[in-house]
């Protein structure tokens, strides 16, 4: 099965790519809409600063296309943040799939929020198949999305924030499943299963 991995500046995609391949997916790493549209699902990675990412996505003609994707879509870290209305980082605009405004942590003990933190599942979802109600996942970020009706899982770091979100075909995870050992791999596997449906 083909999974599209969006190619743009700022994403360290080695790990996510090899993780998906290990799970049996054929990864199409591309910034070409034509190629990405041949895929059963889309992964939107993200490392780095929001304004740089937005500018780069716009210059590649991907910005307008992203909200129109009609297949399972998973935003990771910055990829999830960009699915909101806006980000305080920069500031930068968002894609407007979710109604959250991404803001800097206000009460965090230390920033960036780096390391393994507890993810508490708050809504059942195909992504959580086979996972315990709470597990540790690896985070690296300084901005976060607030909790809302779209929240699938939450984490606490000085304040409670959205660790995972969903609306229709759009999923977002703030942590890095590709860096979260076996449980992260399970989440990616679950996403690939959703793509097969």
């Amino acid at each position: 099965m083909k999974v599209g991995l969006i190619a743009y500046r700022g994403g360290n995609v080695h790990s996510i790519r090899s993780a998906l391949e290990e799970l049996g997916a054929e990864v199409v790493y591309s910034d070409q809409i034509k190629e990405l549209e041949k895929c059963a699902g889309i992964i939107f990675p993200g490392v780095g600063a929001a304004p740089v990412a937005v500018q780069d996505l716009k210059s590649r003609g991907l910005w307008e296309w992203l909200p129109t994707v009609q297949r399972p879509f998973l935003g990771i870290c910055l990829g999830m943040q960009l699915l909101g209305l806006s980000s305080e980082e920069g500031p930068a605009p968002g894609l407007g799939i979710f109604p959250y405004e991404v803001k800097a942590f206000q009460r965090a003990p230390r920033l960036p929020h780096i390391g393994w933190n507890l993810v508490r599942l708050t809504q059942p979802d195909p992504l959580w198949e086979g996972l315990p109600p709470a597990f540790h996942a690896y985070f690296v970020h300084s901005y976060r999305a607030e909790v809302g009706s779209y929240t699938l899982a939450q984490t606490e770091y000085g304040e409670v924030f959205s660790a995972a979100v969903r609306k229709d075909f759009f999923w977002g995870v703030q942590f890095h499943p590709e860096k979260s050992s076996q449980q992260g791999m399970r989440i990616l596997q679950n996403f690939l299963r959703v793509c097969l449906l």
Binding site: S15, V47, R110, P112, I114, G115, N117, V140, E178
Partner: protein, 251 residues
Amino acid sequence: MLTRRIIPCLDVHEGRVVKGTQFLNLRDMGDPVELGLAYEEKGADELVYLDISASAEGRRTFTQAVEKIAAKLRIPFTVGGGVRTIEDVRRLLEAGADKVSLNTAAVENPSLIEEAADLFGRQCIVLAVDAKEEGGTYRVYIRGGREPTPWEAITWCKEGVRRGAGEILLTAIGRDGTRDGFDISLTRQVAEAVSVPVIASGGAGNLHHFLEVFTEGKADAALAAGLFHEGILTPYEVKSFLFRHGIPVRL
């Protein structure tokens, strides 16, 4: 709650994990990928790979090893050793490392920290600081701990964070390899002075040392090498002990 991390450190020479003292009597320990995966299995939260090759050829081999590690390892890893330029940082990140640590080059050219943080994000720039106690204060050393600098350690850590370092890897070189315990005073002073996570290194010898560096030392993570390589303790054993003493860990 954010957990405290346990990080094994592996020295890599010409693409192989080695053990030895001061570059002498290097003993082959095995393949960096296989050893890394074994540590992931044993509960390591993260790994550090240090390139101790001195040659250009050794560095190329190291970059290839980083690519192979990134393809297999499912926990984050930092790489360091001999990182001199922005191009070195780029090469290692593009090879798949999650973070790159800067040490000597950052002292000699502090703007490298800013440049790297601006280009790649501060979350992937680790400032490695080797400190030695001298008359009640801590002095920063470079070139593998051989050369003193004018920097006082806490001041340098603050400066590094101001310039964009996202984490501090703090080694008490007087403790390195002694198994006498982490330098609690140094760790605590740095942890209280900076806003980014601090990884304590140097001196881990038993379970209580880890507990102490998290409680009294206020460290966010603890790094050890020989203790893990010799199989005296596993990361999982350390974390189980910490858990029983109320420290949040990933088990």
